[in-house]
Subunit: 332 residues, 4 copies
C-alpha cells in the first residue's frame, strides 16, 4: 500500500477548490496520513483572541492538498474513506464573526441591525475522557461534551473551470460542515477534472447540526484516509456511506432547495441499488429518511438525507467500495 | 382523575384551529382517551383509491376536539403529555396528491411542468411484529418497517381571531408533522384564547423526516393523553420535552426561517433553565443541537431543534411538568 | 345606481378576512363611498408617538366592510373598480415596529440581534401641490414627494373556513401592499364563500415597491369604488387590470415563490385571452413582463407580474369588465 | 482618447470571471468598441435548433475581455459607461433549456417531474421599426416588440482567488441579467484584483424583468463603452447610475436576500450622498424605491433597488462620474 504522510507548512495551505496545483500525485489505493490546520489557522487560542484582530480574511479554512489521483477523469467517482480523525491539539476554538452565522443578519440576509458581538470560546480537550469542555461566559456553567471529530471540508475541483472558496459547499462537496463526515465513512464525490484534485480540512472536534453560530469546535486534526476510484458513476451530489447509513448531502439556498437536491439524488440512488422507479423511491424516502441539517451558515446551506441500512435490503453501492475500504482500514 | 373517552362521529370532525366550538370542557389533569381519524378520512383503502376521486378537499386532516381547558388564559402554557398512540386500523395509507409535496411544484413553488402521477400505497400493519409493510409498485420489493406512531397535528386556537386550516403549522402548533410528537413526550403550547381550545389528529404509523411526498403512513389512531396547565410562561413556539430531549419546533418559509425560529426559542429556553445569556446559548446550541426536519411539504415548513438532556445539567422545565406527567402516566 | 356611503365607527372595524358578519349586503353594480382608517388606527400623529406605546396589537390594519355581494358564489369572480382614493387627513405616518419589516430580523427570520429602534415619521399633506413631505431626523433634509394613493388591503373571505389576519396577503388578496392598487384599476378576486365578503383598508398616501420598513405613508382614505360580479372564472390569484396593464399578484414565501405564483397565473391568463399554450406564454412573459415587488415585510411577501397592454393585441378580459367600470366611473 | 476595437475570435472567448489572462491592458478613459457573441455562441438560428443538440455546456455566455485597467487596485471603483448597444445580427433567439429557468424545477429546486420541452423561438430584427418579432408556435399570434438592448453580463474578477462561471451573478457583478444595464448608464463595480479584469457579454435585444424562462432575446451585440476608475469607494454591490435613476443590484438566494442586499447598499449610498443615517435612509427607500426584479433563473437571483433622481436632491455620486462620462459620450 502506498502511504503518504503530509503536514503542510502555512505557505502550502490552499484556500480554494480548483485553482491550485496538486501537492501530491497519488494512486487509487493510497493511504494518506495528513495534518489539517483549523479554520482559524490556529490563531484563536484564548477567549481574548477575536476574529477581527486575529483572522486575515479571506485566509480561513486552509485545505490540505489538493491531491491528484492518477486515472481520475471527469465522470468518475472518487471514494474517500475516513479511517481516523484525531484531534491534533489540546484545545479547540469557536467564535462569533460579525455578520456571519445562522442567527445574525449577513451580507445577504441583510438588515440594518448592529452585528452581534465578537466572542471566543476555548474548549479544552480531555483526551482521557474524550471530551471538550464548554465554559460559559455569562454564568459559571461548564459542560463536558463528548468529542465527535469530523471534517467540515471535503471536496474536489469544480467543473467548468471554476475556482471556489474553501468556505462554500456545492456539488463538488467543499465546506459541507456535516457531522456525518466522521471516522468510518466513505465519501463519494463526482470527478470534474483530470486527477480529481481533492483536498480536506476544517476539522471539528464536535459540531451541532446546523452549525448555528458559524463555527464549530474548530481544531487541528490528524486525518487518516484511504483513497480509491470508481470509473464512471459520478453522483450529482456528495454521497456518504457508513456501516449503518446511506446519505446524500445537498447544498444550496434556500434551505429547502439544499434538502430537495439531496432527496432527489437519494431517490436516484435507490433506483440504482434496488431498481425502484422515482415514485416508489419518493414514497420510500417519505417514510424512512432522516433529515439532519448540516450547516445553515455558509455561502450555501447543506442538508443531509440519510437512510438506515437496517431498513433496506442489503446492497453493494459502488460495488461494495465502502465495505472494501472499511475492511482494509481494519487491517491498518 | 377525570377521564374523557371520545370517538368523534364524522359530523363532529373539525377542520381548523380556532373557529369551532369545544367538543368538551375539561379540567387540567384530565386524561383523554381519543380516537383520531386519518388525514384521508379513511377513504384510501386500496392502491386503486386515488386522492382526486376519494378526497373531498379541503376536508382532510380531521381534528378530534377542540377541548376547552378550564382556567387556560392567553399567555398560559398548555401541557399535553402523549401517554400512548396505538394504530386503530390494520392498514395505513400514503399517496401523492397533485401539486402537493416537497419534490413537486405546488401552487406556490409554481412551475409549468405536469404534476406527478397520483399513486397510493397501502401499508398492512403487522401487530405482532409491530411493523408496516412497504410494497413497491415498480419492482417486487417489500420492506417491513417498524411502526413509530406519532401525531402530525397538535395545536391550539390561534391568536388575533384567526382560524387556520388543520393543514398548516405555525406558532399555535398545528400540522407540524414531526416524528418527535410520539408517545412519552410532553408538548408545551402557548395559550391564545380562553380555554386554549386544543385539538389533535393526523396520526402517522411512521414518517420520515421531511415527509417528502406530503403524506406519511396515515392511519386512524387511539390516542391517550394527559392534559395540564401552567399559568403564564407561554413559549413563542411549540416545545416538546421527552425523557431524553428538549425540542422546539419552528414553522415558516423558507425552511431556514422555520429552523431559525426554533433555534432562537431554544436559546431563550436555555436562558430560562440555566441563566445563559443569548451569546452563550448561541454557542452551546452550535455545538450540541440536533436539527431534524419535520415537514417540507405543508403550507409552512417545520424544523426541529433538539438538545440531548444527557449533555446538559439537570433542570426542571415548567417546574418538572414533564416528569410529573410521565410519572402519572406510568400509574395508568 | 345603488350607492352606499359608509364610515365605520371604531367598534365596527374588522381585523380579519372571514369571520366577521357583513356590514352591508349590496348588489353587483353598487357604488361604495367609504372611509378607511389608517393601519395605526390614527394613533400615530407625532414623531413622538411610538408603536409600542400607541398600537394595541393585533388591532392594526382595520378593515371597512365586509360587504356581502348578492349572488356571489364560490368560483365566481368579484370585480372591484377603484374609482377614487383621496387622503382623508392632512398627514400620514410611517414607523418602524420592532422585529417587523424587511431589513430587520423578525420572529421568523429570527436572529439574536437587538431590534432596530422605534422611530416615527410624520408626512404633512400639501393638497395644493399633491405632495407629502419627508422630514429627515438625522439631517435637515426635507423632500416633497408626490402623493400616490393606494390601498394596501383588498380581499375576500378565504376558503376552507379560514379566518386570516388583515396583515396577511394570500390567494384571497388581503394585505398585498402593492402600489398597483391605485385609482383607475379593477381588481379581480376569486370568490370563496357566498357573498364574497370583501373588505378594504390600509390606505397609503404613497409607498415604495417592497414597503421596506413595513409601513408606508399610512393615512385614512376616502375610497370610492364600484362593485361588480362575474359568474365563474375565479382566478387563482388576485388580478388587476388598468387602462395600461394586466397584472397578477402572488403572495408567499420565499419571495421567488410569490413571484412564480403570479407568473404562472399570468401565463394562464394569456392562455385565456389569446389561446397561447403554456410554452408560448412562458416565452412571452419572459420578454415582456414587468416584475415590481409589492411587499417583502408581511406574513407573506407579494410580487407583481405586469404586462403592458400596448405590447399585446386588444383583448376583453372578463368580457370587458374593466372598460365597462371605467366608463361608468367616468360618468360619476 | 484611447480607443480599442475588439471582436474576439471564438478561441478568445472567456467563460469565467477571474481565471483568464487579460485580452487588453487599457488606461482609465479608454473607449472600447466591442463585439459580444450571444449566450448561445450563435448556434440557435432556427426554431429547430434545440439547446441539447446545439449547446456545448458549460460553454455558454462567452465574455469579451477581460480588460486589465491600469492603476485599478482592490478597493477601487470601476466605472463602465455604456455609450451604445446595437444588435449585431438580424435575429435574436430564446429557448427553454431542460431544468433551467424560473418556472421549472432545476438541479436545486429539485422535483421528480419531467422537464419542460425544449423549444426555440427566433425573433427577427426589424431595424427600421426598431423591433423584434415574437412568433407564437401554438397559435398564429405575432407581436412586434420594441428592441431594448441591454447586457446580461458585466463583471470584474472576484475576490479571494475565486473564478466564477459567466452564468452566475454575485457581488462582482456578472450575469445579473437586468434590463437596467442599458445604453446611457454608468455601472460602478468594486475592484477585487489588480487591474479589475472586467468583461462584458450576453447581449439581450430585450428582456422582461425576471427573465422567466432563463433566456432573453439573446443576440450578438456591438458594444461601445467608456472605462474610468475612481480610487477607493468600492461599493458592496454593483451600482448603476443613469440620468434618471440610482440603482443597486443585489444577487443571492432566496430572492428576498438578493433584494435585501441591494436595499441595504442603497441605504448606505443615501448616507454617502446626503448624510442620512440608516434609519432615515430606511424610511426614505420605504416610500420611494422601485424594485424591479432582474433574474429569477440564474445560479443566484438578482433584484434591483432604484431611486428616481427627481425625488431626491441633486448629488454628484462618485464626484459626478456619470455626468462626466455621459457628457463625454455625447461628443463621440
Amino acid at each position: 500500500m502506498d502511504v503518504v504522510d503530509y503536514t503542510p507548512q502555512p505557505e502550502q495551505y490552499v484556500w480554494t477548490f480548483g485553482g491550485a496545483p496538486p501537492s501530491h500525485r497519488i494512486k487509487p489505493g493510497t493511504l494518506l496520513r495528513l495534518w489539517t490546520e483549523d479554520a482559524f489557522c490556529g490563531t484563536l487560542r484564548d477567549v481574548t483572541d477575536l476574529p477581527s484582530a486575529s483572522l486575515n480574511m479571506p485566509f480561513v479554512n486552509p485545505q490540505t492538498g489538493p491531491f491528484h489521483v492518477e486515472g481520475a477523469e471527469p465522470g468518475d467517482t472518487l471514494a474517500l474513506h475516513l479511517v481516523d480523525l484525531t484531534p491534533a491539539r489540546g484545545w479547540g476554538a469557536s467564535t462569533t464573526i460579525p455578520l456571519f452565522g445562522a442567527l445574525t443578519s449577513t451580507d445577504r440576509t441583510a438588515t440594518l441591525q448592529e452585528p452581534l458581538p465578537e466572542q471566543t470560546w476555548i474548549y479544552e480537550v480531555n483526551s482521557d475522557r474524550n471530551t471538550v469542555e464548554f465554559v460559559a461566559q455569562s454564568t459559571d456553567l461548564r459542560l463536558e461534551l463528548p468529542i465527535a471529530p469530523m471534517l467540515g471540508t471535503v471536496g474536489v475541483a469544480p467543473a467548468a473551470g471554476e475556482v471556489r472558496s474553501s468556505l462554500v459547499p456545492d456539488v463538488f462537496g467543499g465546506n459541507m460542515d456535516t457531522p456525518e463526515m466522521k471516522p468510518g465513512v466513505t465519501c463519494f464525490l463526482g470527478v470534474n477534472v483530470d486527477g480529481a484534485l481533492f483536498s480536506v480540512g476544517d476539522g471539528h472536534y464536535r459540531q451541532g447540526e446546523g452549525e448555528s453560530c458559524g463555527t464549530a469546535v474548530e481544531g487541528a486534526m490528524h486525518v487518516t484516509l484511504l483513497v480509491d476510484l470508481i470509473k464512471g458513476g459520478a453522483p450529482a451530489w456528495p454521497r456518504i456511506e457508513s456501516d449503518d447509513y446511506l446519505s446524500v448531502v445537498g447544498s444550496s439556498r434556500p434551505l429547502e432547495d439544499a434538502w430537495r437536491a439531496g432527496q432527489v439524488d437519494m431517490i436516484r440512488w435507490l433506483g440504482e441499488l434496488y431498481g425502484l422507479d422515482a415514485m416508489d423511491g419518493y414514497q420510500l424516502v417519505t417514510q424512512i429518511s432522516e433529515s439532519p441539517l448540516a450547516n445553515v451558515c455558509d455561502a450555501n446551506y447543506s442538508a443531509v438525507t440519510k437512510l438506515a441500512k437496517n431498513l433496506l435490503p442489503p446492497a453493494d453501492a459502488y460495488e461494495g467500495m465502502h465495505r472494501k475500504l472499511r475492511d482494509l482500514a481494519a487491517t491498518l
